[in-house]
Symmetry: C2
Subunit: 139 residues, 2 copies
């Protein structure tokens, strides 16, 4: 964890390690407010701005992968090979996590085509869940 911070050339503060540990133990991509509340629950005092600033810098540095949910809130997870994406129902807004990511190969191809160094991505599938299908798209 200190490694991650060093790699990003960021100072190792207790707030940052709190934030990282929440992200690392989270089931899926997690939003700023959720990180914040999770820390308050553990009696780790922190300011919400600090959470925002930290996840921003970490995702700019490529440590975190930023995914924006259908409602526009940003969520974050470690930028490793085993990260997840959501499939979200556009009727009832429920989500399921998909268990793999199809973008890895694509990234390399696009890198060559554009000259960009591709460091991450945001992917989310939208659909209608079985339940809403059954109820004819009624909420």
């Amino acid at each position: 964890m200190e490694n991650l911070l060093k790699k990003a050339s960021l100072k190792n503060t207790k707030q940052r390690s709190y934030i990282l540990s929440v992200i690392m133990t989270s089931e899926g991509p997690i939003a700023a407010e959720e990180i914040y509340k999770s820390l308050l629950n553990e009696n780790k005092k922190i300011n919400l701005s600090t959470v925002y600033r930290t996840i921003n810098v970490l995702s700019e540095k490529g440590v975190l992968l930023k995914t924006i949910r259908e409602d526009g809130t940003a969520s974050y997870q470690l930028n490793d090979l085993s990260h997840n994406h959501y499939l979200t129902c556009c009727v009832c807004h429920s989500s399921v996590l998909m268990d793999d990511c199809p973008i890895v190969e694509l990234s390399e191809r696009i890198s060559k085509e554009t000259g960009y160094k591709v460091t991450g991505h945001s992917l989310q599938l939208i659909g209608v869940c079985p339940n809403c299908l059954k109820n004819n798209y009624k909420k």
Copy 2:
């Protein structure tokens, strides 16, 4: 265009057709505010709320594909086979359009696995553009 509205069982109002025509002639995914300004430029009077309400309902009905940009603003395009995705630089926030979409096949597989009817997706690659690479990630 009236077809699209009928398919979504929505009334055919002039505001809606204005909005659709802007989206159809746009280069890539376009945001609410941009649609709004584009219409004002053409002296088509419309309210920003109407734009928001229209694109929301159209994307819920699967007519539009909603993509959320790295800054959290939602952008919209027709949900057809030839839609585009962005590759955005996380340092200077410049974007390029990628010229195809790798998600079509994935969608079918996920449909079978989850029971969801997959109606769309949001994909965006994040990276560092050639220029920012050259400047060592400095803005």
